[in-house]
Amino acid sequence: MTTPVLSIENVSYSYEQKEVLEHIDFTIQPGSFVGLVGPNGSGKTTLIKLILGLLHQKRGDIRLFGKPIDKFKEWDRIGFVSQKANSFNSGFPATVYEVVSMGLTSKVGYFRFFKKKHEEKIKEAVHLVGMSDYIHQNIGDLSGGQQQRIFIARALVSEPEFLILDEPTVGVDTENVHRFYKMLRDLNKNKGITLLLVTHDIGTMTAYASDIACLNKQIHFHGDPESFNDLNDQDLSNIYGHPVNAVTHDH
């Protein structure tokens, strides 16, 4: 059996008195494209922070590539695109090239400088997200959707095996959302990158992901999009705590 990219066993987390995650069991296999959906306040961002080691779980076990998270050191195998990526200081004078180069900073390491091969990798990552024409533009001059691609490129440049995206399409218009998801699916299929995408946009997600997981304090569902679509409205409103009409897109 292959080692899961991520395995979470019986993890709970609470802020002061309030429990936000209860007994989470969750596994991601290599090569999958997992959509993690859930209503606001369902603990999605907390779960991501735990996976990235920004928060520390009090109970349970989190493993990345089979290693317990507190002993995990190979962070360059993991890429992260934050929800906040598009709320950065838009007046910051940095070119696309410079922004993407930051993805290599920790891989290159302290007391070392960028070399020719790093430059090539940066250009390749920008090309991969289809933004080569903009490489010397300031990031602040690009549209929200274009900026988000640049942040994906920054995550991809260190060639991660596991890419985590936290609500990356907030503020991106519908047409570009689809283009964006297609790009992710291509990365998943052609480059074999395992993806975990957090979103509240259930509809679009089911059209692209290989697995859907529903979170609302607990994992309420984890399976393929077909069986997710088979869930009736009653099941969904149990997850969300209120009635929902999931608009699903056909493949």
Binding site: L54, S82, P93, V108, H136
Partner: protein
């Protein structure tokens, strides 16, 4: 015009010092501005003043020969450490550290200055900068500071850049944010203390922020922003020294006024460029 600057030793000292601070001020200032810490420079310059006043007082009262310049530099570095501590204590009100340190600096300065029997020319020079007060020894100290700051920034450039752009991402990628930030704030304290001889306590933060304010309007990319701000900084410092010497006024004033003129020109040029660009798109 520059000939007398090469002829007399005290003017040579001032010129070389000016060129050094015109380089390191905007170099570090670019990081200060993009991290939205412009006011920290002000807080630290006032702490430096309290150190200078402390040095002057020791000299006057007890005849202890500590150079006020070194006393100022030590106070500035200690002040920077305090700011970091305060920012950690008041996580939700990080800007509070600035008024606390700034007023603390001014308060201590008032006490030490009064104990040292009030104002004198020496203090006036520290407040507004001076063309004539730079000694050979000051020049050497500032040279050492400049070499140290420049080489450390070159060495940690990519980490500092990443931390300035997106702190959370830097932390996730395994950058030691706290240590790098600490290094950055200590370097800022050193640059401020070094610049005070020429620019003066009250205007030193301007040398770190105004050239940057101009450069980020027109620069493409971070490296270009640094380069342009250094050019603007040097132009301001040189004009400050020349006017300061010929009109017998403290150079700090002219340095700031020149920087503001450069700033206005860049804002104007940028607007003209934008207007012609939108016109071209329309036609």
């Amino acid at each position: 015009m520059l000939s007398s600057f090469l002829q007399y030793e005290f003017l040579r000292n001032a010129l070389y010092t000016g060129l050094l601070i015109g380089f390191i001020g905007p170099l570090l200032g670019t990081f200060v501005v993009v991290r939205r810490l412009s006011l920290i420079a002000d807080a630290l310059s006032h702490v430096t003043l309290s150190g200078i006043a402390f040095g002057l007082m020791l000299d006057k009262k007890f005849g202890v020969g500590i150079s006020p310049f070194y006393a100022g530099m030590s106070f500035s570095v200690i002040g920077s450490v305090f700011i970091e501590q305060l920012r950690r204590v008041y996580k939700a009100y990080q800007e509070l550290a600035i008024p606390i340190i700034l007023s603390g600096g001014v308060g201590l300065s008032v006490i030490f200055i009064s104990l040292a029997d009030g104002f004198n020319t020496d203090l006036f020079n520290y407040l507004f900068g001076s063309v004539t007060a730079v000694s050979r020894q000051d020049l050497w100290t500032i040279l050492i500071v400049a070499v140290l700051v420049t080489s450390l920034i070159a060495l940690f450039y990519k980490e500092l850049f990443m931390l300035s752009f997106d702190e959370e991402h830097a932390v996730v990628s395994g950058i030691h944010a706290r240590r790098i930030h600490f290094l950055f704030i200590v370097l800022t304290a050193l640059v401020i203390a070094a610049s005070i001889r020429i620019v003066g306590v009250l205007l030193v933060s301007a040398l770190m922020t105004l050239p940057v304010a101009a450069s980020i309007r027109i620069a493409r990319g971070f490296k270009q922003a640094i380069l342009l701000s250094i050019v603007f900084g040097e132009v301001s410092v040189i004009s400050g020294l020349i006017f300061g010497y010929y009109f017998e006024i403290p150079p700090g004033g002219t340095i700031v006024v020149t920087s503001i003129l450069i700033l206005l020109v860049t804002i104007f040029v940028k607007q003209v460029i934008q207007r012609t660009r939108t016109k071209r798109v329309k036609t």
